[in-house]
Symmetry: C2
Subunit: 214 residues, 2 copies
């Protein structure tokens, strides 16, 4: 019975792993669409959101059936509940990548990426994707100590977010209000993506160790 359960738990982990991959891929492509002004790629990212949502529903349904049929306790219960929690967050990460893509489409034929901030957004995209890839590893390996690592990367994202807001609102922004507003919103999408990744890492470490890292 426990062996069956642990096989099913691993299967649940695989579902979450797949979701992390989809979210990382969505953010990678959304950033590419942003930097290249590629509206078709942006629309592809928007369409593909359905796949992540579907994966989220499947993951949740499976977790629920595990709870109903196996009634896990202690660390097993913690693991199932952590997956439920993380699935919602990873879905949201996909949603934030889609927000970037939507902004690309809304700005078209103008470029959505605010002039002079290309490198900042490229960097934010890289950091977000890397965090998401770390989550994938974390889902299938040990979570211990990885929260601290993701937290440091999140600090780098926060610093870029702050720098972008300062640049835009600092008084000598020459590119007008729509570009300034785009920059602020985009920076927020990337920052929130990173925040969700940190919550996921935190929760996975809790599932792993029984202690919620601070």
């Amino acid at each position: 019975m426990r062996e069956v359960f642990h096989r099913e738990l691993a299967q649940l982990g695989n579902q979450l792993f797949r979701m992390c991959e989809l979210a990382a891929d969505a953010m990678r492509r959304a950033t590419l669409a942003l930097l290249d002004g590629d509206v078709e790629l942006a629309e592809q990212v928007m369409e593909d959101e359905a796949e992540l949502d579907q994966a989220g529903k499947a993951c949740e349904g499976f977790a629920q059936s595990l709870l109903a049929l196996q009634a896990p306790v202690a660390s097993d219960l913690r693991a199932v509940l952590a997956t439920l929690y993380c699935a919602v967050k990873v879905e949201r990460m996909g949603g934030l990548a889609v927000n970037v893509a939507k902004l690309v489409r809304r700005s078209h034929p103008a470029r959505a990426v605010p002039p002079g901030l290309e490198d900042h957004f490229r960097r934010m995209g890289e950091l977000d994707v890397r965090m998401c890839e770390h989550l994938s590893e974390l889902v299938t390996g040990s979570a211990e100590g990885r929260f601290a690592e993701l937290n440091r990367t999140d600090d780098a994202v926060d610093a870029l977010h702050a720098r972008i807001l300062e640049t835009v609102t600092g008084g000598d922004w020459p590119h007008g209000i729509p570009a300034g507003v785009n920059a602020a919103l985009l920076a927020r999408f990337y920052e929130r993506f990173a925040d969700q990744a940190v919550s996921v890492a935190r929760r996975l470490e809790f599932a792993d160790t029984g202690t919620l890292p601070t």
Copy 2:
């Protein structure tokens, strides 16, 4: 046993109810702080976030112990899992109210509310608070059909959000970039608050009826 369980389930509902009250109160006061430029009130909202977070942790811990000790199935399991899901969302609603409050403090001594948009933000605040109050009622009563109602209110919030973005980026915004960026970010906080409220209503209706409203 089932009677005990249902008493505990009602207790869990009360915890979520209390969380909804705290989130509504946070958004009510954050909006007041925004409109009055009241930095002390804003700081109060920021401090009080700890209470909602604490309530969230308590709610989650209790839900988890119910799952471990009572191993509920079917609609009982759905109800416990819905509470877990909603508690995370309601905590986030409190976080969005705190974002409004933080922006008030960051702008101080300047007023954070962008000139000419006071009525829009007053209205968004009212709609958000009303949605949150509806959630409270929903947690303690029947959820059936209330999702549709909250969804309509959310449409009104979305329309205000769109109008604010258009005003700011429309080309004749005379109040400069920092005020424009503030407007865009604030509008987003209110809009996200409403989005979370809709997810909560949707999930509660699912717990109630077994069908996820679309």
